[in-house]
Amino acid sequence: MDSLYLTAEEKKLFDALPETLREGWKVVEEERGTYESDDELLLRRKMASFKDFPQVTMLVDRLQKGDKPETLSLEGIPESILSELCFTIGARGLSVLTGRLLLDAKTDADMEGLVGLSQFRHEMLLTNASVSLQ
């Protein structure tokens, strides 16, 4: 649980963090390259179902009505949404989130979130590798 799976580029960002944040985490190089193709991600978007999360429908309704995204919040949406969300955005989406969060990590709690995110991506890459047309 303390392993942080980072690509070589991400590791540079990690190394730039204050030592107090870096200590205690074991960085493992993320070497797998089984990222989704555009076609695969498009399919995942069409396969996605958030019907168990009425909060999502409400948020999307508000966006369509013109509410500004910065006025909306993910509060109230349970963490169980992560399964469907992560599959939908794929390892590529998770990489974008990981990279962004690495830039702004300031607390140990942020680091714990980052570790989790990197593990989600790692497992997604393994899943992608385990089932392939090739």
């Binding site: 690509t7 540079k12 960002l13 978007r45 999307v60 369509q64 909306l72 989130l97 702004d104 979130g113």
Partner: protein, 183 residues
């Protein structure tokens, strides 16, 4: 010297094919076009011997498919792959430590840019006709006015400064609908 004909660069319209959210939907489709069992349908996707039967069944179900059968078969194979991956993913997620899941979600929720990205993904999944975003995370990030993290960390300001620039409107309009075909 033989002059090669130049290829025209006119964009081809991508055909709209059915998308099955899970194995049951794919099974139902297989049955509708004449395959009694999902195994039969899935093996026809892979088998050279049964390919003619599959092509015939697909053509029969939609005579307008002319010239698109190969693309449809390829699409169905990717759809099946993604269904299988999703099944494997859900089994795996069940074993994730609860604390890790909680901390990950808490971190995403409180980060303005990460939250906006997630919001965009949810909107793309919830609104028909916005599907290009799902494959364009890197581009979306660039449109937020920031460079991708790994390319230019120093160029990105604090998240709180970036958040007010976020406008999802461009991602909620205009792309073609992806429904149809299912017989």
């Amino acid at each position: 010297m033989i002059n090669q004909p130049k290829e025209t660069s006119a964009p081809k319209e991508k055909p709209v094919f059915p998308v099955f959210k899970d194995r049951q939907e794919m099974t139902d489709f297989g049955q509708r076009i004449g395959f009694k069992k999902i195994e039969e349908f899935e093996s026809a996707l892979d088998s050279v011997q049964q390919r003619d039967k599959l092509i015939e069944a697909l053509r029969k179900s939609d005579p307008k498919l002319n010239g698109q059968v190969d693309a449809l078969i390829n699409h169905l194979k990717i759809n099946r792959q993604e269904i299988t991956r999703k099944e494997a993913w859900y089994k795996k997620v069940l074993k994730f430590p609860g604390r890790m899941v909680s901390k990950t979600w808490e971190t995403i929720k409180k980060h303005p840019v990460a939250a906006a990205l997630v919001l965009a993904a949810l909107a793309a999944a919830g609104v028909a006709g916005t599907y290009y975003l799902a494959a364009n995370w890197e581009g979306f990030f660039a449109k937020l006015g920031a460079q991708t993290a790994v390319k230019g960390a120093e160029a990105i300001g604090p998240a709180t400064k970036i958040a007010p620039q976020i406008d999802l409107a461009p991602f909620l309009e205009g792309a073609p609908q992806a429904e149809g075909f299912i017989p």
